[in-house]
Symmetry: C2
Subunit: 272 residues, 2 copies
């Protein structure tokens, strides 16, 4: 199974499975890493979730997600997310930072709120052994999900926050960026490349643009090239497969895991 080295399955990819089912699916397939969403952890119960992954021998490659800094109660909820990451034994908390507040068009102000929120959270995370990984989202989500839109911007925020803060690079969100090579190299050189997530860009975009993601090789992104850039930048961590796609969610989990494994072998084995 050495050709699956570095492969991690995010629970969002097998959305219909419980955490226990996804853990079992990883073990059966020889996948050594798992990325966890908090909703799935909450269903299982935090202590039980931590026990499940530990007893299965899986590495928890990230917890998704903290962020949404403009929401009421965000500071408290984000500290809770750090606590959960620590309890689950992962060193990486992915941050999806939130879009424009309802009714606002003030993008610079929204970006300041995010910068302040990350800066306030970073020392707490560091004290708990957790690295924050700021995830730039595709610019089409700027209004509603993340005002952090490029890797360069995420790195600026991470540098300002300090305390081990870094970034999460997701191929779907960053593949189009003319600055991508330079910013990936910058992230690697600064030791800030905390997480690498992969999925493909499908066309046409579905009615819910969140769900236009596909298995590696089914879309328009040269994912092996991006994986090589990340490896050349010094990333020796995991490659987490996170796919939001209704058709894939409707497929049996076993079939999805088989495809994930097959695509990793075909496109990514030997890189990094």
């Amino acid at each position: 199974m050495s050709d699956l080295k570095g492969l991690s399955l995010n629970t969002a990819t097998t959305k219909r499975w419980t955490l226990a089912e996804t853990v079992a699916g990883c073990v059966d397939a020889g996948i050594g890493g798992i990325g966890l969403w908090r909703d799935r952890v909450a269903e299982a119960g935090l202590a039980n979730a931590a026990r499940l992954v530990r007893e299965a021998g899986l590495t928890v490659t990230s917890l998704c997600r903290g962020g949404f800094f403009a929401e009421p109660g965000a500071a408290e909820d984000n500290r809770r997310a750090v606590d959960e990451a620590a309890a689950l034994g992962t060193d990486t908390l992915v941050l999806v930072c939130g879009g424009l507040p309802a009714g606002s068009r003030d993008l610079p102000a929204a970006r300041r709120t995010v910068a302040d929120g990350i800066a306030a959270l970073a020392p707490y995370a560091e004290a708990h052994g957790v690295r924050l990984a700021i995830e730039p989202l595709h610019p089409m989500f700027c209004a509603d999900r993340a005002v952090v839109s490029t890797l360069g911007q995420a790195l600026d925020l991470a540098e300002a926050a300090g305390h081990g803060t870094g970034v999460c690079v997701d191929t779907y969100h960053v593949w189009w960026d003319p600055e991508l090579e330079r910013q990936i190299a910058r992230a690697g050189a600064a030791g800030m490349l905390h997480a690498f997530q992969v999925c493909d860009w499908l066309l046409p975009l579905p009615a819910d643009a969140l769900l236009g993601r596909g298995h590696i090789g089914d879309g328009h992104i040269d994912i092996p090239r991006l994986a090589r850039l990340v490896a050349e930048a010094g990333h020796r961590g995991w490659t987490e497969v996170e796919i939001f796609n209704q058709r894939i969610w409707d497929a049996p989990g076993e079939e999805t895991v088989r495809t994930v494994v097959e695509r990793h072998r075909t496109h990514l084995a030997g890189i990094g």
Copy 2:
């Protein structure tokens, strides 16, 4: 009508109108500028179209569009677009540069093709008194419509091409960019801000993401702020309203023009 100073209506906004109807609509509303799409010009016939706008006393603020450099016959078609711009009396040809070639995932190669195509076209345009205006499209169109995704990238291409080449800034495509202020200032300082188009960003995105644009004030973009940035950068040209939206296309043209005028008065009068 001095509060409509600088307002231009793009024919794409009143899509169901013929060119003659849009020209009449502009005159009736006191709008002094018109942006032309080539399909509408072709329907009217080039010489007739030129006569229509000239006799109405309208300024043709741009011709849309050249570009799609990877298509067969692109070089010839783009020279024809320059000829048409000159015949119509406009100094600005907007370029939408095209996405990945069918079946290709090689984004760097696609971007080289675009750079080569612009560089080859620029001297021809200059010789005919036409300035090329490279339009960065929103990154969600990178695969299928334009591998030019940011204003900074468009300016790099324009600088490399020379011969008066500049950019077209469309609020819909660039509003999310963390580098926007800096790049608008750069464009202005270099005399490369050849065209400014406005429309708003609506959510949810429609099934056809091309059509998610709205009247100024109906969406999430702070368009007055962007208009001020453009004015501060020295843009003394036109503000062209170009909206792709099925609901607006289904409305009577007179109603659309009334709304365009009203929104310009409310949001943009006195800027620039």
